[in-house]
């Protein structure tokens, strides 16, 4: 058995940023465990631009964004074990991992950063009936084939789901010469960024069919055609709207699931809306000294926010190791109220010291315009921010000034409400 002050599980953007930040805060005994051969997680296959605008203030591609962190990790001399799969973590922070050459490893950690990321939902998960031919892939798998392995997955492509990966792959397949027939979205709005809808679909005249889904798949060896249907407001297919579309490839971009098998092994409870564990403002889980950040905690739409969140976790873990933390007498619950699906963190547990703000990440239920984001305590408003527009596809961040937080508070609620009497007419 070996011992380390900090073990980071996963060398994607979250794991790298957390490790670096801990190192900058004086922690010198860090090891990162990564199951892949290379660092960077999903970033190396995200060859498109649009990364880093928030974090670096310049536009980078995925591989470039990853490279900046990889170089810093290298310079900081942080140990990385690749091709190492963590199999289990127990509540005493004992990690069991499997390495290609070293075999079974037992590592005892003083702190652990969970940064395992997420995986894609599959056809099975959304239960599309029909045959099971070749040619049905998750959008991320198709991205890996196209951008790293050098295989184009097909020639006539349908895409289900208008999340960013679906939109990005629509353009990518089109640029590589495929006929991208349509992107279907079951919701009445696209869940991707506006920029991606314009530059990935509109630029290439790829139709986006809202309130549509796939109701049947046909093909013996290879996918031959799919049946699409319009759906009603409860997402049920409307009879009589079915249409068959010939295609040899179906890409699924139907959501991401945080990969929390290890968290579950540690008996950590999962939040029904985020799919991640519960954390306080330090991104510390219910187990002291164990932190979670990035897409394993909640699915982010921008990697920039992942880096930022991972730094909070890395910094806090360093404070924990340096015994530089003090708990509040009472924890404060942060509760999502009207029109919100979740907030991260879910509670505030420590004294603020030199902190001026607690940054709250939140996701809204539905698109809304001209709204107020309201913090309230005991039904009384503490603070509100105006927002022109909020969308479920774009995470919202708001700062809660610590000056407003009083000693005896037990719960702060967050709501999104429409501003009344200020309708901003659209021409």
């Amino acid at each position: 058995m070996t011992k380390h002050k900090m073990v980071v599980v996963g060398a994607g953007p979250a794991g790298l940023a957390a490790a670096l930040e801990a190192s900058k805060n004086g922690i010198d005994d860090i090891i990162i465990l990564e199951r892949d051969k290379y660092l960077g997680g999903i970033l190396p296959q995200c060859i498109h631009n649009g990364f880093g605008l928030e974090y670096f203030g310049e536009e980078l591609t995925g591989p470039e964004y990853a490279d900046r962190f990889m170089r810093d990790i290298d310079q900081a001399g942080i140990e990385v074990l690749t091709e190492t799969m963590v199999l289990n973590i127990n509540q005493d922070k004992l990690i069991t991992a499997l390495n290609k050459t070293k075999g079974v490893l037992k590592i005892k950690a003083e702190t652990i950063i969970l940064a395992m990321g997420c995986r894609e939902r599959t056809r099975e998960k959304i239960q599309i009936p029909g045959d099971r031919p070749a040619g049905i892939l998750s959008a991320g798998t198709a991205q890996r084939y196209t951008n790293i392995e050098g295989f184009i997955p097909g020639k006539e492509v349908m895409i289900l789901g208008s999340g960013d990966i679906g939109l990005i792959m629509a353009r990518r397949m089109k640029l590589e010469g495929a006929d991208v027939k349509a992107v279907l979205e079951i919701m009445p709005f696209s869940s991707g960024l506006v920029r991606n809808k314009v530059q990935c679909l509109d630029d290439f005249d790829i139709p986006l069919k809202l309130q549509h889904t796939i109701t049947r798949i046909e093909g013996k060896k290879r996918l031959k055609r799919v049946e699409i249907s319009k759906v009603d407001k409860d997402f049920n297919p409307i009879k009589g709207t079915q249409k068959w579309i010939n295609c040899d490839t179906l890409l699924l971009s139907v959501g991401l699931i945080p990969e929390n098998e290890l968290s579950k092994a540690m008996n950590l409870k999962l939040h029904p809306a985020t799919g991640g564990v519960y954390v306080n403002e330090n991104r510390e889980t219910e187990l002291k000294g164990v932190y979670a950040c990035g897409n394993v905690l909640h699915v982010h739409d921008l990697v920039d926010w992942v880096s930022e969140e991972a730094e909070i976790a890395g910094r806090s873990a360093a404070e924990y190791l340096n015994k530089n933390q003090e708990k509040r007498d009472l924890p404060i619950k942060i509760t999502p109220n009207k029109n919100l699906t979740y907030t991260v963190p879910q509670k505030i547990e420590y004294k603020f010291k030199d902190k001026k703000f607690i940054k709250i990440y939140l996701r809204v239920e539905k698109p809304m315009e001209n709204v107020k984001i309201v913090f309230s305590h005991n039904e009384k408003s503490m603070l509100s921010y105006d927002k022109k527009i909020v969308m479920p596809g774009e995470m919202v961040t708001v700062n809660l000034p610590v000056a407003l937080i009083k000693k005896n508070m037990e719960e702060i609620k967050l709501s999104i409400v429409e501003k009344v009497g200020e309708k901003n007419g659209r021409t």
């Binding site: 190396p44 060859i47 498109h48 631009n49 536009e59 591609t61 995925g62 591989p63 470039e64 490279d67 196209t146 951008n147 790293i148 392995e149 050098g150 640029l175 590589e176 010469g177 960024l193 506006v194 920029r195 809808k197 314009v198 530059q199 509109d202 630029d203 315009e369 022109k388 527009i389 909020v390 969308m391 596809g393 774009e394 901003n424 659209r426 021409t427």
Partner: protein, 124 residues
């Protein structure tokens, strides 16, 4: 007179801006809700450009492809032409981030640069 609808990408709102033109002259522009929308729509009408990210084939590399991008935006109308040009190209490993793999693509004045380090296969 012609009408062009342009969706602004400046923020999540995605205002639909309409530009009316006589020949090359803009006679009317409306639908934007902030100055960014107006400016975006005018640029997008006059000279729409995009950064093109794609891949180039690699010989002797640890991977068969190297990701690349145009170092600056190129005209939107050149994207497919540029893809066809890049498809013919093969480069040799090792490659470093920022290496110019194609100079002045399609005489746009813009280079195509590598966005990932690719080692030689024999050195991995």
């Amino acid at each position: 007179m012609e009408e062009h609808d342009i969706i602004c990408t400046g923020c999540p709102k995605g205002c639909q801006v309409t530009i009316k033109t006589e020949g090359d002259k803009i006679t009317d522009i409306y639908g934007y809700e902030c100055p960014t929308g107006k400016e975006y729509a005018i640029n997008e009408f006059k000279n729409p450009t995009r950064i093109l990210p794609t891949t180039v084939k690699v010989e002797d590399g640890e991977f068969p492809l190297v990701p690349v991008k145009t170092a600056a935006p190129i005209p939107k109308s050149d994207l497919i032409k540029a893809m066809n040009f890049i498809a013919e190209k093969t480069v040799k490993a090792p490659i470093e981030i920022g290496d110019i793999l194609i100079e002045n693509i399609l005489n746009t004045g813009v280079d195509v640069v590598a966005t990932r380090n690719i080692k030689k296969e024999s050195e991995v």
